[in-house]
Symmetry: C2
Subunit: 434 residues, 2 copies
């Protein structure tokens, strides 16, 4: 089936085809202060505040009472309306942009509204799409967990005994989540100059093992009351949508600090996410089975179907200060042992209250080969091997001025891609020591 | 020096003497919906919204432009004004309540404003005082860390090598922080029916090792920009004030889940705090030296003085469903290896952005004796010993219906106590398994 065509010119290779319709928060060249909601479509964005103000939703009467949500500086109020509303709005906007739209008077034939609300993407700036209440990072990429566990504890003990029984996760730092394009300052921290020396005496200095973690992020639209777990069968209905995520990690700080309570300053200096939230409905055609879990899981984690992750083609690019770009990895969002629905069911099983705007990270996603890894630590085999990059250059970990860009896209049919755009960040030098 | 006396009748044993003036958020019997700011004073609270509305701050002109902060449902806006403003407002309110007030016309001789704003405490209800951005729990109670470490790893390896070099901490769950009086539902979770059996196979069930953690909480009034650490010399100026904190913990869930990323569901089902935020200024007379750290600390953690913790007399009471109350512990807030200023300097050294409303926990506070411990796990020696309580009864961990009440107070002079009131919570039975 050929993709539904649009009256708007949408490049065939755009991540933001008519099949996608992801939501974000923008300002524009002509309105730089006021953050408001938008959807991305090809090389344009539709300013939903302006669209709503001039009757854009007049052919969707059920939504009329809610249009004020698009004038807010985050998508939380829209998200809180719940999946049935998101579904209705997305389908409506798909129709509005369709060549055979049932409502050509709304936008297709309305030059004034096009001028007011349909902005060239390069005239807009994206912002953090949600106010994040709590951010939890899981560890569901079993290939990554296994690779890193092998480095630290040997192959026989690579995975902890709990790993296949529950989606291991930890609470992250919500305040340090930033939108793609925000520079990341190399952290100073306590590191061991010589990790093998005894006694262990740390020095304060810039991290020398600055790494990335390729992850998927999942925003919740609705939560639960404290003390009332979310059943696995309902968990997916609490998902608003997905973003790409780079959980920057300082491996030398992490090694020293992480026992016994987990990573802290090794992670809380910055986590980047892509700006456009892709709704679960848009990813529906790209469902894929989770990685096989040989361990029987407890009932509260049992899903009715196995295809509860997505085959998102993921890519990690490194651009050096001289401008050369190397693709470090190509992998897939399907390489997870646990789905986000399972993470939600586990997170809330003890009664933890979850809320609109909560962000869950998948954990680092790696395949099983050499060229599909989600962290430098795996590519450089624990820091022991140089990674060849373009320009006869090498990297072990990131240098100042390096830019990492994550990309993710589903499908291969021109004109029908469902993608995330980019999640990028450039490393700035560490601040002076205090 | 005799304490300054008040025209208002304040019981001599009140935690809320004229020397205190802690801030909180209330509703009242006559205005049950609208949350607003208040201070506690003896058996009364002063409704600051009502006080401000009727000219209560007219003798403090510099604050007039800010009075709207007291009409908000949290103290964040007031906190964000910074310590010099809190200091001025507290001193002003102390004067307003003083027998020799410079402004008797404001409240002392103003029956109408007393009626409007000075409410009997029992006619009011307290609420969570701050909107918490991020919650971080530290581990600075070295006696507790040592006791628990000995149980898990033996006395020789009780403390990890990093423990005396940095204030170990982890990111907690902000959404599960609740105000004193909120019931706590026993969590279900994955636990090992027989922890020594191999292979390790968990079951889902109610925690059978439900514990408490006696802590101090610290709210920040101001933060830092991402990438710009807070120097140790400025860290204390970012503190808004302090509360008592009970970081409820499910030890059986914790044992199974916590490797390698730290505690998760063992903690995120509930953390209780006392409702009244005691400002650092009120605690100033009760400074005490930190516990001696034999390890030289790095410069970014060096404080100019050693008396950067507080001698707060802390108490843990257990009340059973039949009404009998046993004091399980009496200890002091001074039993910390790290001050909150050091925690802030460490938390931000890598650039982590901290913000108004962030909550930091001290970690469990224990003394060195048998009767000054901050968790049941220490009192029952890892679950092996029964704790004798009144009524010929015993406890190992908490049973449904048990109430834990934390208390904390500084000073001994009648009429001049600076206290926190109570932090209490009653255990409800676990929900049915899904």
């Amino acid at each position: 089936m050929a993709p539904r065509s649009s009256w708007l010119s949408i490049p065939a290779d755009s991540h933001f085809s008519l099949a996608n319709i992801p939501f974000g928060i923008i300002t524009s060249r002509h309105s730089q202060i006021e953050k408001r909601a938008a959807v991305a479509i090809g090389d344009h964005v539709l300013d939903l505040k302006a669209f709503a103000a001039d009757g854009g939703f007049s052919a969707l009467p059920s939504f009329q009472e809610h249009v004020a949500v698009f004038s807010q500086p985050t998508l939380n109020a829209f998200a809180a309306l719940g999946q049935p509303v998101h579904r209705e709005v997305r389908a409506y906007l798909q129709d509005i942009f369709a060549a055979d739209t049932a409502h050509p008077e709304i936008l297709k034939d309305n030059a004034a509204l096009q001028k007011a609300a349909l902005l060239p993407k390069h005239d807009t700036k994206t912002h953090l799409p949600m106010q994040i209440g709590d951010y939890t990072d899981f560890f569901a990429g079993i290939n990554h967990a296994s690779n890193v566990g092998t480095m630290f504890r040997g192959a026989a003990n690579a995975l902890q005994p709990n790993y296949t029984h529950l989606p291991v996760g930890y609470h992250g730092r919500a305040s340090s989540v930033v939108v793609s394009g925000t520079p990341i300052r190399r952290p100073n921290g306590q590191i061991l100059a010589d990790p093998s020396a005894e006694p262990k005496v740390p020095v304060l200095g810039p991290s020398r093992r600055l790494d990335i973690e390729l992850e998927l992020g999942c925003f919740l639209c609705t939560g639960n009351r404290m003390g009332e777990p979310i059943p696995i069968g309902e968990a997916a209905s609490h998902i608003f949508g997905f973003v790409l995520m780079n959980d920057w990690s300082a491996r030398d700080i992490q090694t020293w600090e992480y026992v016994p309570l987990g990573p802290f300053n090794a992670k809380n200096f910055g986590t980047s996410i892509s700006p456009w939230i892709v709704l679960a409905d848009a990813l529906e055609p790209f469902r894929a089975p989770k990685l096989k879990n040989e361990t029987p899981v407890l009932d509260y984690l049992k899903e009715e179907r196995e295809d509860t992750v997505y085959d998102i083609q993921l890519e990690v690019d490194l651009t050096t200060p001289d401008g050369g770009t190397t693709t470090l990895s190509r992998t897939s969002g399907k390489y997870l042992l646990w789905s986000f629905a399972q993470m939600i069911a586990h997170h809330s099983i003890g009664g933890c209250p979850m809320a609109t705007g909560d962000l869950l990270g998948s954990g680092t996603i790696s395949g099983t080969g050499k060229n599909d890894l989600g962290s430098l630590l795996e590519m450089n085999e624990g820091g022991k091997k140089e990674i060849m990059i373009v320009g006869m250059d090498v990297r072990t970990f990131l240098l100042d001025g390096d830019t990492i860009t994550l990309r993710g896209v589903c499908g291969g049919e021109p004109g029908a891609l469902v993608g995330f755009g980019e999640c990028s960040g450039t490393i700035l030098s560490a601040p002076d020591l205090p």
